[in-house]
Symmetry: C2
Subunit: 364 residues, 2 copies
């Protein structure tokens, strides 16, 4: 870690520029080689500067989760935006979508006849460059319809004047050890059945959108039109423990200070000044703690409070000194930029510019 970082107040989010570029290039090359469009999910970073790097590396369009994120990225010149979420369109939401559609091609998700009726009531005819994507449940059991029901849902949308562009799914059940292949198989079968259902209802040129960072590399050529990975740009401790990234490939860390230290009793531990208010507190059952430490692969974050990470060390590793600085790799990186106003860019080990998290907090 470069001494230049001693001038930063901790905790602070660092983005390693070189590692990030490598992560982007590697993923895009692999997906482009299969003839798949990469439409990255920018909820992971919420930073226009990073979305531009993804575009420069071949991404076509972006994915967002909310109308608020779409507004911010449209303001920054992104003109092809998929809101991959089953929006419930109110009069207020329709006004906002129309304003975005004056600057960008917009697609958003629906997964019910009621959702289509609400969208049509407020949106139809007014927004020329807005279309809907039908969400399919491919096994994650969150939102989405059964694949066989897509044709009738799409016909209902068309009869109400909505343009249906295609189908999408999120195979979130890929986030468990050894599940990526099986989730990717279920994903492509669900999408294929959904596409057949649409074809039977008269659609041609159906756009098929899938993907999660763990599953995309298990998706063969020809199965989808586009993939929407998000986490790959940084990586995180979940991806490390799932085997998709090495520790030193992770591009986002939280620089933190050792503020307390104890060798009493049966637990050798230090306390870092990074807690759940900067790391997030996601902790799926398959991970070994609340994050990892870049400098100490054998240490584990056994507990997390709002401003304390309790880091436990094995007997054969010396405890770091009080006042020393460590870089924490968060479990789920998508939560972290959303907790800060800006990130500090590190180039070749030196502190560079600060990038505002332009879409931070845009939850709705």
């Amino acid at each position: 870690m470069n001494d230049l970082m001693d001038d930063l107040d901790t905790p602070v989010v660092l983005v390693d520029h070189g590692r990030m570029l490598s992560n982007i290039a590697r993923m895009h090359e692999q997906l482009c080689a299969r003839g798949v469009v990469v439409r990255p999910h920018v909820k992971t970073h919420k930073i226009p500067q990073i979305a531009r790097l993804q575009r420069d590396a071949g991404a076509r369009g972006i994915t967002v989760a909310t109308i608020g994120e779409a507004e911010v990225f449209a303001d920054h010149g992104f003109d092809d935006i998929f809101i991959a979420y089953p929006l419930w369109i109110t009069a207020r939401a329709a006004v906002r979508l129309r304003a975005i559609s004056a600057r960008a091609k917009v697609m958003f998700g629906v997964d019910s006849a009621e959702g289509i009726a609400a969208a049509a009531a407020h949106l139809a005819s007014a927004a020329r460059d807005v279309s809907v994507m039908i969400e399919v449940d491919s096994g994650h059991h969150r939102s989405g319809v059964r694949p066989a029901d897509v044709g009738s849902i799409a016909s209902a949308a068309r009869s109400r004047g909505l343009d249906v562009a295609g189908v999408f799914t999120f195979p979130g059940h890929s986030y468990a050890p050894g599940h990526a292949e099986e989730a990717a198989r279920q994903e492509r079968e669900a999408l294929a059945e959904a596409a057949r259902s649409l074809a039977d209802a008269g659609w041609v040129d159906v756009w098929i959108s899938g993907g999660s960072t763990p599953s995309v590399l298990a998706t063969p050529a020809g199965a989808v039109s586009e993939l929407r990975p998000g986490v790959y740009v940084f990586g995180d401790a979940q991806q490390v423990e799932l085997g998709h990234h090495a520790l030193d490939e992770v591009a986002l860390t939280v620089l933190s200070t050792v503020v307390s230290r104890s060798e009493d009793g049966d637990q050798r531990r230090v306390i870092l000044d990074a807690g759940s208010k900067i790391l997030g507190s996601d902790r799926p059952a398959y991970v070994s703690g609340f994050g990892r430490i870049l400098e100490h692969p054998a240490a584990r974050i056994a507990a997390l409070s709002e401003h304390h990470a309790t880091v436990v060390f094995p007997d054969d590793v010396a405890l770091p000194e009080l006042g020393s600085r460590l870089r924490v790799i968060p479990n789920h990186v998508c939560l972290v930029p959303n907790l800060v106003d800006e990130v500090v860019v590190v180039r070749d080990g030196a502190v560079g510019e600060r990038w505002p998290v332009a879409a931070r907090g845009r939850n709705g």
Copy 2:
């Protein structure tokens, strides 16, 4: 729920003004009756308007977790601030503390000889109205020294020119069913031993600070000088499931919309548009899900993604309609104001003013 709320975009944080005032009054009356000073922890809300209500209800001084929070509250006229955290004082931190001390009496935590040396190197003699509080571990095993070691730590501080005001602890192990009484007992024994250690080292008029929302009401008169509860101002699902609040006493909720609905298979569920990016994802082992639903006490949040809450309903409860709005009670309320720029105040069921979360994101 008032129809006026239909005009709000979801998800949005609502603060019920009447319930909040009741929560503040009830806690302050009970603690004042024991002759204890209430120094509320404002990290829970980070909103100066709420800290003023606490002051109007008898609070003396405030507690914060970071220098950044202290800066914001000093800017808003609060002149007695305890940073209840073992700060590691760098040159930059010392400059910031001195600036605060020009406007406010400041105390901060230390728990090591090294921490005292760092503070003395950068701070001593420059800051007249800054003093330190020695942190004691009372059984939570996070930061803090052994009670018997307080006298020697305090003497080291004095010999380096630092003013030692007293001792503090956080009995965080009170956050488990049935643990509040035992944690409160351990807290007062640890603080009493620490105070004796200080008295033996020559101190008189030692200030003794304790408290967590679950444990404060188990703390008898005479055991402490002040208590630092935070969560009590709102309550949350953790407090409900620990038995410290009723569902309808909780003053902060997240208004959200039903965006997806499924009665397929063996799980009857709806998806709400509030996820971990507004609710936080704390989920201790003793709670029944990722939050509760004010309108449906029998429903449970079985899963949480960034923008989806998966709410499962028992067979005998009708699923809410698509597009309807529900109020989510978060598990751990301290994470929620930190995720939004402002909260919407509700008075007598009607939407009122918006209060900015002035200290949001002030992690360091």
